[in-house]
């Protein structure tokens, strides 16, 4: 499973727009394998945390209702060019990953 996170952060008039693409299967646990008929076990991100320079800006709790390879965009006030935006997630199987990018 690829664990990449692509992050873009752009500051404009005091507000930084953060856009992120996370690689994750986001299985709801309700889907069935078409060939075997077995239920595919749930595997989805439960918590996403966006922070700027180490300070939490926003925490999201997700269900399996978020699309596969989730896209997330948020806006944060007060961040400047060169600040570090970090996004970290944890899934229901205890897997986790994080990524960071500089504000442009």
């Amino acid at each position: 499973m690829a664990k990449g996170i692509k992050i873009r952060a752009k500051a404009k008039e005091g507000v930084t727009t953060v856009k992120a693409l996370i690689s994750h299967p986001m299985e709801t646990g309700g889907r069935k394998d078409k060939k075997t008929g077995n239920t595919i076990p749930a595997h989805f991100i439960q918590e996403v945390k966006v922070s700027v320079n180490g300070e939490d800006a926003l925490t999201g709790h997700w269900s399996g209702g978020v699309s596969k390879n989730p896209y997330l965009s948020v806006k944060v006030a007060g961040a400047n060019k060169g600040d570090t935006v970090t996004i970290a997630w944890v899934d229901n199987k205890g897997g986790s990953a994080s990524g960071e990018a500089k504000v442009k």
């Binding site: 966006v50 700027v52 925490t59 999201g60 209702g65 944060v76 006030a77």
Partner: protein, 156 residues
């Protein structure tokens, strides 16, 4: 006397070892998962999900919450949703797809620096209202938009 001193030292060492483990982040995943509002995500209706999340399901309709979503989503597996609100002091934003097997799709806790804006892509099982609930100054506000789904994204 000297025995007591020995025991005391040993106790201190054991205590600091736990402190180091927490500090190094070894115990973070469990702590993080404990915050996931399981009850809210198991709720089968909008009201139940809100009660589990905020302790109340009373949300006033608000024109200050804008939901940007397609009128017709051809593919229910990927429905772009943007919630934008001009309400002040936003504490949380929740996105609910009314007729999904798990109606509560996402709930965001907003820190002081976060603006009232969230954009994401969600799955929708069938045509239903997408409800955005914003908690601002301790009060709940809601807005809804119907999205027609031609191919559901929650089934196999």
């Amino acid at each position: 006397m000297s025995m007591q001193r020995r025991t005391f030292l040993r106790g201190t060492l054991a205590g600091s070892a736990v402190g180091v483990a927490v500090g190094a982040g070894l115990l973070t995943p469990q702590a993080v998962l404990a915050a996931w509002p399981k009850n809210a995500f198991e709720a089968k209706s909008v009201g139940d999900a809100l009660s589990a999340l905020h302790g109340s399901s009373d949300a006033a309709d608000s024109g200050d919450i804008k939901i940007k979503a397609p009128d017709i989503a051809e593919n229910g597996a990927v429905v772009p949703i943007t919630v934008d609100t001009s309400l002040g002091s936003v504490e949380s934003i929740s996105v609910i797809a009314e007729k999904n097997p798990v109606p509560l799709v996402a709930s965001y806790e907003m820190g002081p620096s976060a603006e009232g804006f969230v954009s994401m892509r969600i799955k929708m099982g069938k045509t239903s209202d997408v409800v955005a609930v914003v908690k601002s100054n301790g009060k709940l506000f809601r807005a809804a938009k119907e999205v027609k789904v031609t191919i559901g994204g929650c089934g196999g």
